[in-house]
Amino acid sequence: MRTEVVMPRMGQSMEEGVVLKWLKAIGDKVTRGEQLVEIETDKATVDIESFATGTLVEIIVSEGQSVAVGTVIAIVDDAQAVAAPAVETRTSTAPAAVSIPAPVAAVSAPTSVGGRSKPPRVNASPLAKRLAFEHNIDLFAVRGTGPGGRIGKEDIKLWLGKNTSTAQPAASIPVAAAAPAPTVTAVKASNGIKAPLSKMKLATARRMVESKTTAPHFYVSMDIEMTRALELRASLKARGKEVSVNDLLLKAVALALAEFPNLNSTFAGDAVERHVGINLAVAVALGEKESEGLLTPVIPNCQQLSLLEIAAASRSAIERARSGRLNADDMGGGTFTVSNLGMFGVRSFEAIVNTPQAAILAVGAVRRVPAFDAQDRVVASHLLTATVSADHRVSDGAEVARFLKMLKGYLEDAFVLVSAG
């Protein structure tokens, strides 16, 4: 029977060994327990004994070679027929598989505005975030009174207390059968119908009041010559790519904000939190005639998006806003808002800052007016008036003016909007 001699595991940590010296040669007799080969481990040199009696018939690993533990290094043959040992098969009962119940999963916290690289974080306790999610509250609209401006349960409760609808539809008022008829006080002077404000409008109302009463607004306007921008738009259209004037504005704003991080920030009490991502909120007015509310879906990380990508995102967001299909992800994390009334022919207007954002850009229509060129000749010009409303706690006139100048520069050198990534 041929017995394999293997590189033995001479220690818990041994992985390989070196054959140093064969103490027997091929053809030599060897008895069990006799030293057969000298090996080197990571720790020491040891003599290895043979486990079999017989003749050394093969040396497979020669001196100087290093092999892994378990490698066959030689063969000893006792030249006898192999006798199969009687093996008693024992039925062993493995213990029953134990199923360990998983520990109770944590009460699941609401998923944060996810999937986007670093939207601005709101300072709110985990509980406040859960409550905001449950009540569909935009945390950026809630003022925090905790340490560092942290929003807590009380702040949410306060907010809810001021924003719950007070009107009740008649059908839901239970009438007790035997109750006496309630005395109806005559309603004086009002010939109107009291239309209850929707939750969204209430939220907007609350936000606007808060913004106007806490953020000292100031306004800076600038006219921007849009001829080249319109040329760019036409050029893209000729190649089958549709971009709106608003898309051009968004791209230019993103580029300009990259140079003015102070305007891409949120006010946080005693500090201004500058955001890495430029998440542009687009004001979308709902309703064909009467206002049915205002939504500001967010296009995140515009600093990473090309003009065409911004156009696609904007188109999608506006469409979803109009059809009521915006989700929580769309709504949060805005750092700067752009509001456009140009489609109505408006010349200019001043928007209200979407606190805690620092500023908002309001633009009117592009109007065709005569202007003078460098040689004092009259030329046709396409002017757009851009007005920035800003929070004077964060910024000042000079900074906003410089921002507008930069914005103007990008729009007037419009082809940079496609080449600047």
Partner: protein
């Protein structure tokens, strides 16, 4: 157990231990056994002589080098072999391994990975016997490596103080891992310590199985009579290093060879033949039986299934409900 012990039983047990250890050695160096391996080859006479002088209901605690002691006290080799492989049907359900192998049904309080830890446990078992007014005795094996450890001295003092039936058996193989006596022992002969603690103390040739048997039998009788503890210093030698991985640099090769020539099994074989208890052929037959048994055990044990990993969560507490909570953390 009287003075008439079956010499062939002693012989068989020693041979069984020898083959168990050699088989374990082959398996381990073949990479089949996880963990550590501390062989007791060469010390069979101490293990067998001592444990054979005990009753099945007497207690015994051993060391990290515990295969010989535990097999001598009644640990079955098949479950023990499975345990070395980490099989589900192992003596300790794969939870203990070589260094912690135990069979409480045989009075084996376990091999122990901590030097000297078995000593207070043995004292406690003897205390328990006394409290229950039982004539059980408790034997503790420890190596010469435990010579300086606190619990040895605490244990000797306590056993003497309460007159407990403890048998302290020092397996003196002359080396504490790599350290020889003159580097760990303050006086040449620890029997003097034991005497200093007040108990009868004797030194025996640990490779003479009958001498060990006699000494332990006397100590057990003393213990059962309520006369308190005894100390036996049993001089022996381990053929292999401290564990597999020991580079073999601690002991001179000639010293190892000299002790191998004093093989307790070969020696007892001669004694049996000289006294006409059995013939060489009879002894060869016993040898062959044990060899075959161990070979079969190894082949069988290798094929035994391992427990599911979730079994790691079992056998910690007796109380299943509170135990499950203590392990899991959050209550379901």
């Amino acid at each position: 157990m009287g003075t008439q012990v079956n010499w062939l039983d002693l012989f068989r047990l020693m041979v069984r231990i020898r083959y168990f250890e050699q088989t374990a050695f082959e398996l381990y160096t073949g990479g089949k056994l996880p963990g550590f391996l501390h062989l007791s080859i060469g010390q069979e006479a101490t293990s067998v002589g001592a444990c054979s002088a005990l009753r099945a209901d007497d207690y015994m605690a051993s060391t990290h080098r515990g295969h010989g002691d535990t097999i001598a006290k009644g640990l079955a080799v098949e479950p023990a072999m499975i345990e070395l492989f980490g099989g589900a049907a192992g003596s300790c359900r794969a939870k203990g391994g070589s260094m912690h192998i135990a069979d409480f049904s045989q009075g084996i309080l376990g091999a122990n990975g901590i030097i000297g830890a078995g000593i207070p446990i043995t004292v406690g078992a003897a205390l328990s016997a006394k409290q229950r007014k039982s004539d059980q005795v408790a034997l503790c094996f420890f190596g010469d490596g435990a010579t300086g450890i606190g619990p040895l001295h605490e244990g000797m003092n306590m056993a003497m103080l309460w007159k407990l039936p403890v048998i302290f058996v020092r397996q003196n193989n002359h080396y504490a891992e790599s350290t020889p006596r003159h580097e760990y022992q303050g006086i040449p002969d620890v029997v003097r310590w034991a005497e200093g603690y007040g108990m009868p103390a004797t030194k025996v040739d640990g490779n003479d199985v009958l001498a060990v048997y006699t000494a332990v039998a006397q100590a057990a009788a003393r213990g059962r009579r309520g006369e308190g503890p005894s100390f036996i210093d049993s001089e022996t030698y381990r053929w292999y290093g401290h564990n597999i991985g020991d580079p073999g640099t601690a002991r001179p090769k000639e010293e190892v060879e000299m002790w191998k020539a004093r093989d307790p099994i070969a020696r007892f074989r001669r004694v049996i033949i000289e006294h006409n208890i059995a013939s060489g052929t009879d002894l060869d037959a016993i040898d062959a039986e044990e060899k075959a048994r161990l070979q079969a055990a190894a082949e069988m044990a290798e094929k035994e299934p391992k427990p599911p990993v979730e079994a790691a969560l079992e056998d910690l507490y007796s109380d299943p409900v509170l135990g499950s909570r203590a392990i899991q953390g959050v209550r379901v």
